[in-house]
Amino acid sequence: MNLKLFSVASFLMVALVFNPAWAQEAPEVDRSATGGAQTLEDIMARQKQLEVDESFRSENLGDPASAPPIRDELGTLGGRSDADVWRGIRYNELDPETQVRGPAVDVLIQDEGMPWLEFREGPLINYGGGAIIGFLVLLVIFYFVRGKIRIEGGPSGKKIERFKAIERFGHWLLAGSFIALALTGLLTLMGRSFLIPVIGHEAFSTLAIGSKWIHNNIAWSFMLGLVLTFCMWVVHNIPNKLDWQWLKAGGGIFSDSHPSAKKFNAGQKIIFWTVMILGVSVSLSGLSLLFPFQLPMFADTFGFINSILGTDFPTALAPHEEMQYANTWHSIVAFLMMLAIIAHIYIGSVGMEGAFDAMGNGQVDLEWARQHHDLWVEEVQARQGKGESS
């Protein structure tokens, strides 16, 4: 990963900079013309990403030991000039104090912000957006090639209850909030690049403020929907042998066959677990973003991953870096979920005759149910035979 490479590289750079042996070996730059300050040569070397010995700057931090009295020149800064102070901040050699209260206020310069921003404005938009558009195009092609999956022999006209009202309520609470989150999230990520050029800053500002309000607040509905649907459906989503048969038959999508299934087939179980696992992950990283600096999660997560895989992810993260990782992860997981959900919406609406009714009014056609969930129909009818409800 880019960020990881960057952290390793910056660690190496810092190690080299503070390594006196290296400092001696470095070719001497003549800085007499600038009185010891950096020269054009230094700047050019940095731009060429050469390893520059920065000790002439990082160690040039003024002289607090012989600071003049408080009323003298430089007295109030404790023997440092403004430039000395900023160099100290730049190289993390000062321990700043501030009267501002709040979390992370003593971080004045944070290098990892740039790679985060560049990743967000570049690869994230390009690959994330590209994947969604590409997937939509594939689905349209699929629709025209395969067509709608019909109820063979047509609907029977008889109905069977598939989902109770509370189940449908949970589903639509989850679905409604997810779609709102997806749209406002995409607007937050992409609005700057694509909307400001079209509608201008003022209009976008209003839109972005509203969109942020929706995104932050409707997240709670999503989390509630996630918990509700998990509790109601998890028993029907435990994988079993039947799922393997179903997957081997490709769900019957390409062959027009109808592999056996109980209440949820293997494809639906995949959607269920994708939504649950990614949903929890997107919620956790979202909470971490919603309460800035209060719920840092990545240092611990990286430490845990390192201890298992022997990897070398950074575990000493600045507060803002924690937020940047949370943000990056939040968007990646959200994109994966959007892809899964686009497929789900397709098959639950235009892709399959009779499917939408299950979540529409809860009553599906008996013939649809027999073709897609034969074993479930048998179970329900057996229970009804005994006088129990579905």
Binding site: R168, G170, W172, L173, L174, N217, S221, G225, F291
Partner: protein
Amino acid sequence: MKVMIAGFVAALVIAFLAPVILDQFGWSTAEQYSSESVRLD
């Protein structure tokens, strides 16, 4: 379909309640970034 609308409405109701409830716990940005001696409103 009624249940679907109910789900959407509930999502919105929760969204409107959330900031009101969170503010009770002092989680607003302004409160996070100010010390005890600052009067916010």
